[in-house]
Structures are given as C-alpha cells and as structure tokens.
C-alpha cells in the first residue's frame, strides 16, 4: 500500500509535468486519436510529444515487461496510472491494436526473437497492426476460414480474402489467420502468421460504414510470400493463439462500456432539454431511462474493476471476457441511444464545424458495431452458455 502511494505521488507529478495541456482535453472524434505507424501524420506537436514521452517510460503498454519496451508495472500500479491519467483527463497517448491484441498474444506464444523484434516498435507506436481474421464466408464461424497458405519450404504463399479488416489501408503489418492444413478438422488446420502489408500481392479496398466513415477494408492476398519465422505458436495450432487474442480484444471492447470520467448523461440532457421547478430533468420518461442506464453503468464499472483485475491475474475463467464484452457492448449502444435522445435535434447534424462533423450521429451509428466486432453478442452468449454455465450442447 505504502509503495503504491509513493508510486501514485510520483506518477501524478510526472504526468503533471509531462502531459501537454492540449492532451488533457476530451477526444472529440477518431481524428483526435494517435494511432501511430509508419505513415501516421501527427495532428500536433503535442500529440507527438505525448506519445514519445509516454513510450519512453513504456507507459503505452504499462504492464508489458520492461525488456520488451513495456512499463513493467504491476496490475495495481497500472491501475494507479489509469486513475491518475483519468484524474487530469489525459488522452491515451496511443490507440493500438498492437498493444491491445497482438502484444499479449506474442508475450504468451511468441519466440524470444519475435518478442524482441515486434514488441518494442508497438510500444513506441512505430508499427501499426491490423487484424486479418474475418472472411466473407467466415464471420461468427471464424474457424471455417479459407485463406490458404501453401508450404514452399522456407516460406508460404498466401492466397485469399479477408473482410472487415479495420484500418487495413493504414496498417503497416497484419496478424493473420491462414489455413495451413486443408485436410484437418477446421480448428486444427489454422496457423497464425505475421506479414508486412507492403508485401507484393497485398491489396485493400475500403468499405464505407453507416457512419459514413471508412475505417475498414476488404483485404486481398494474391501470391503473398510469408516467411516461416513469422509463424506465431505452433503450425496448425493458430486457433489457440487466435482465441487467446480474442479474449484480450473482448476485454478491451467491453471496457468501452465504461463511463470513464464522462459527465453524467442526465446533466448533459438537462442542459439541453431543461429542468423542472424541482431541478429535475424536464422529461420524466427520458429521466427514468437515464437512471436505469446509470444504475447499469455503475454496476458494470464495478464488474469491470472486479473481473478485469481477476482476468488479468489469471484468477477468472477466460470466458469471463465474454461477459464484459457482451455487457459492455450493449451498454455502450444504450449510452449512445440516450445521447441521441439527450442531444435534441442538434444531434441529427451530419456535417459542419458546429456539430464537429456530425460526431454525435456518427458515433451513435458506429457503436452499433460494438455488438458485432470481436464476436457478436449472440456468439458471446453462446460462449457463456458453454464455458461458464456448462449447458449441454452449447
């Protein structure tokens, strides 16, 4: 406890001295986020500085071992760091699939060489990763994926197509599921490989979302050469790596359901829609829905604290990540439904500076994907029924 208090004091002082003022304002849209990568254009000098300073301490990946560039913090220390960042409203220095998804998988399944090669550039935000899992014919039934990797001795030749690949057009490298044994049962013929998106034969075609944005792509592989040293885990056991990574992805998506020092929705709504003589939000029906939401958000935050810590410490069943993913995704959708209700007609704006480019409406539409990406809500319920409830045939 005493060491933790000391760590908190140091962290607070360091953040105070090192987090630029403009990095303490809310992230208004995706454009404000720092994604890193070879081609990333920083929005401001402050954004670059903030990333560099945090990365130098390994605090873009606080809990990774220091030898791979991480912060080497304990779970409790990382929690303190999060709290102290939240206290001053600090933006995340880096938004990264490498940190959220690939890193944990490499730490568990990667060779020493792979860890040394791939982890430090992730921490520094130098290499941006994308996730090549889903295919046109393999969504919820991911294990039926068809992208082929043909053995050519010291390398494979990969042919096939991925879809819904978030930011494939902006990513430097991809972690990708490929079929290395077409004869084996579907879960046992898949391998987990890494390759550069600049490799000849890789092409992407952006897909526009209902939010009008285009954050994901169709990704095509046409005779792509992949080195064997870039196989993660065992040959044909890529499904284990894939599932482990999904656990981290799900916990991360679940955390989006967290209220995270946001202002109470009711306050926002009252500002816009007015208060009655007793000071209550002037729309009793909306007020009741908001209260139901706030009760759930409170309980979800508590579950995230409790179960998130247990998951990180390996003391919870891995399928508990599905509980957080399912509930967090549905909760975040509800939050944005309510934000639209609280926003009045202004929330309908699609363009222009006043509405920050239609952020409210576009964010609302984007959240509809929360219960689809990373495995749908129905799939999470299937996992819970099978692994946590042990229901027959699930």
């Amino acid at each position: 406890m005493i060491e933790l208090d000391a760590f908190r004091a140091e962290t607070r002082a360091w953040l105070e001295a090192n987090c630029p003022a403009s990095m303490r304002t809310p992230v208004a849209s995706e454009e404000d986020m720092c994604w890193g990568g070879r081609d990333f254009v920083f929005q401001s000098q402050d954004q670059r500085l903030w990333l560099e300073r945090m990365a130098a301490r390994g605090w873009t990946a606080p809990e990774w071992p220091a030898e791979y560039g991480g912060g080497g913090l304990s779970h409790d220390q990382a929690q303190v760091l999060r709290e102290e960042m939240a206290r001053i409203g600090a933006r995340p220095p880096l938004v990264s699939f490498g940190v959220w998804m690939l890193g944990p998988a490499l730490l568990k399944y990667g060779t020493e060489e792979q860890k040394r090669k791939f982890l430090p550039p992730i921490v520094r935000g130098e290499i941006r990763w994308c996730q090549g899992y889903s295919e046109p014919g393999a969504g919820s039934d991911l294990a039926s994926l068809q992208t082929r990797a043909e053995d050519r001795g010291d390398h494979w030749i990969v042919d096939g197509q991925k879809i819904w690949t978030s930011y494939a057009d902006q990513a430097d490298w991809i972690f990708c599921l490929v079929r290395t044994d077409p004869e084996a049962p579907k879960h046992l013929g898949i391998s987990f490989v890494l390759f550069d998106m600049k490799t000849p034969g890789v092409s992407t075609r952006p897909i526009t979302l209902i939010s009008g944005k285009s954050p994901f792509c169709e990704t095509f592989f046409d005779g792509v050469r992949v080195e064997k040293e870039n196989l993660v885990g065992e040959l044909n056991r890529g499904w284990d790596v894939a599932k482990y990574l999904l656990g981290h992805e799900r916990a991360m998506i679940g955390a989006m359901g967290q209220a995270a020092n946001a202002r109470p929705l009711g306050e926002l709504a009252a500002e816009r829609l007015g208060r009655d003589d007793a000071g209550r939000l002037d729309q009793p029906m909306l007020r009741a829905r908001l209260a139901e939401f706030d009760v759930d958000a409170f309980a979800f935050d508590a579950a995230l604290e409790e179960t998130g810590a247990a998951l990180a410490a390996g003391r919870a069943h891995p399928a508990m990540a599905s509980v957080l993913k399912y509930y967090g995704a549905e909760l975040n959708k509800r939050r944005h439904e309510l934000l639209m209700a609280a926003g009045g007609s202004d929330a309908l704006e699609w363009e222009g500076a006043r509405s920050n480019g239609g952020a409210a409406a576009r964010d609302w539409l984007r959240t509809k994907a929360n219960s689809i990406e990373g495995g749908t809500s129905e799939v999470q319920l299937n996992i819970i029924a099978k692994h946590l409830l042990r229901l027959p045939g699930a």
Binding site: P264, A269, L281, L389
Partner: protein, 359 residues
C-alpha cells in the same frame, strides 16, 4: 476483490446456511404460524457463529466487523432464503444502537437472542423524508405518536427501532415491545415472514440519533438488502441451471435450446453485475465515501431488477413445475418481492440515484 478473510467468511457463511438453513427451513417456518416468521434456533446458531453480531463491537460481544462482512453474510443467507431476522436486527438495529448506551441489548443481539423489529414505513409506503410519526420529549426520554406499517420481523420482535420526526427532523427511537401506548397487529406476508403494524399513542421511547444516523441506517440496510437479493438471485439461478441440464423434452435436455441458453447467459451476466455493484456499494459505505449514497441506491436498484429477472426466468424455465408450491422457485419469487419493496423498491432507488447524480 474480496480480501482473503472476506473470502473465507463468505465460504463459511455459505456452508453454514446450506447446512443449517436450507430452503426447506423457510418452508417450515412459513407453514408454522407460531414461528412468528423466524427460526429462533437458526438465529441463536448465527449468534454462535458470530454472524448475528457481525456489526456489534467486540467489547459488547460482537464480531466488530463492517458493512462488507455484513453484506457477505446477507448474500449467503439470501441463497437459501434463510429465515432469520438478520437484516432487521443484525444489520439495521445494530447500526441504530451503535450510538452506545445499550451494551446489554447489543450483547443479546450478538448472541442471536434479541429480535428487534424495523419500523420505518407508514401507510404502506416507504417515505422516510415525510414521516408523520412524531416524537415529543418527555422526562429523560420521549413519547411517540403515530402509526407504522410493514414492520419487518414485527411479530417476533421484543423491541422496535422506530423512525419518527422530532423538532430536529428525522430520528431513530427505541421502543420496547411491551411499552404502554403501543399496540401491535401481526401480518403474515407472502414469503412466510411476519411483520407488524404498530399504533403508537404516546409510547415511551429512547432517542438513538438524528438525521445522520437515519441516513447511515437506511444505507446499510439497503446495501445489505441488495446483498441478500444478489444471493437470492444466485440461489434461484443455480436451481434453474440444474433444471436446464437435466429436464428433457423432445428427447434432449432443455438446456440445449439456444433460446433458453441465451436467456440464461444474459441472466448470468446480470447477476455478475449485481454482485459487483453491491460489493462496491458496501465498500464505499465502509470507507464513508462521498459517493456512497449514489452507489447504495444504484446497487439496490440493480440487485432488485436482477433478482426479479432471476425469479421470473426460474419459474418460466421450470414450466408447470415452477408454478407449484412444492417446487422452490416460487419461494424465491415471494422473498424477492419483499426484499425489493423493503426500504424503497428499484424505482425509488433509481429516483434517489438520479437525484444524487444531479438530474
């Protein structure tokens, strides 16, 4: 997360209630009107285990523990619907008497010998900020006039903690069961517990504390009621899970049907949230945190909503069997109804939560 001691306490309490107070005990108490709605033997055994006096200071013969530990006992008791006066006496009366000067009574509470009824509601509703029961100073003590309803464990009680208003606002008062000017009428309730309606006409009473104490007493009671409802949801969900795994129709276990799997999985998530929210509220109470008031209201609202879902799904998924008095889901359903109502139902808690958040 629970500390090691708290985990052990929860395990011990879970084992104790499973053995000493299975659901069959509530059924027996319900069927025996002379029981007055509680099992005296169970309450004494809870005294021996240190559960009855969990909040009573060690100097007075109790365990001297805090809200989290009290909540864990309530949670374990909820799983089997244990028919004890723990909420009224072990939690709320102990909190009300914490002001001191009642060493003997606290000792009897901790031993599981005293039962103290909880007289807050009036005219069938919970509105502690609009009390009509009045207290007037008289000699060393005071006298109470008014009427109380839904007095929890009122039939078995040998004394009452009564919420009433005096010149300073809301306060808590202790009234002896046999006091002059007090009449008690017993009500048998749906869960087999027996409450009372009290008529007070200048009944002698002793003042225990004012608005601050009322606040703390209500918060603690609500948080522990949330804990009992969480346990209740866990208990009835375990029955449902077992039924889904064993009952066969169309030649297979009904738990194979995805329509039921998804509802059960959703309920599992909800119970997870109810438990986390309740523990968080108990911890904030323990720390006397500024946001404890919101957290307690939110936790009780959540536990109430989740437990309601758990009992309804239990009856539905048990089919016709779920509708019988012989099966247990119905007992859970009735107790849930009472606990949700107690100290303000989920709607009222959401109202409190909204106010606490400033809208």
């Amino acid at each position: 997360m629970l500390t090691e001691e708290q985990t052990l306490l929860l395990e011990a309490a879970g084992g104790f209630f499973a053995e000493q107070a299975p659901v069959a005990l509530r059924r027996r108490v319900r069927d025996d009107r002379k029981s007055k709605g509680v099992d005296a033997g169970l309450w004494r055994a809870m005294g021996e285990m240190g559960f009855a006096g969990v909040l009573v200071p060690e100097a007075d013969g109790g365990s001297g523990l805090g809200p989290v530990e009290a909540g864990l006992i309530a949670l374990a008791a909820g799983r089997t619907l244990a028919p004890s006066p723990f909420l009224s006496s072990g939690v709320m009366a102990a909190a009300a008497l914490a002001g001191g000067g009642e060493a003997e009574r606290l000792g009897a509470l901790a031993a599981g010998e005293a039962v103290i009824g909880l007289a807050v509601d009036e005219e069938g509703r919970h509105a502690p900020d609009r009390l009509t029961c009045q207290a007037e100073a008289s000699g060393n003590g005071c006298r109470l006039t008014g009427a109380k309803t839904f007095v929890l464990d009122g039939a078995a009680a040998d004394a009452f903690v009564v919420a009433a208003a005096d010149a300073e606002g809301a306060g808590l008062f202790l009234v002896e069961g046999g006091a002059d000017g007090l009449t008690r009428e017993t009500d048998v309730l749906l869960d087999g517990s027996q409450s009372a309606r009290l008529a007070l006409e200048g009944a002698p009473a002793q003042r225990l504390g004012g608005a601050d104490l009322v606040e703390r007493f209500l918060s603690l009671g609500r948080a522990c009621a949330a804990a009992e409802m969480t346990g209740l949801a866990e208990g009835v969900f375990a029955l449902t899970g077992e039924h889904l795994r064993t009952r066969k129709q169309f030649g297979v276990e009904i738990g194979r049907f995805q329509a039921l799997q998804h509802r059960a999985a959703h309920l599992f998530c909800e119970i997870e949230l109810a438990r986390a929210g309740t523990l968080k509220a108990l911890r904030l109470l323990e720390a006397d945190a500024a946001d404890a008031a919101f957290a307690v209201a939110a936790a009780k609202a959540k536990a109430g909503q989740v437990a309601a879902l758990a009992v309804q799904e239990a009856v539905q998924m048990h089919g016709g069997m779920g509708m019988t008095d012989e099966a247990d889901p119905g007992l859970y359903m009735k107790r849930q109804r009472l606990l949700d109502r107690l100290l303000g139902d989920a709607d009222q808690q959401r109202e409190l939560a909204a106010r606490a958040l400033g809208y």
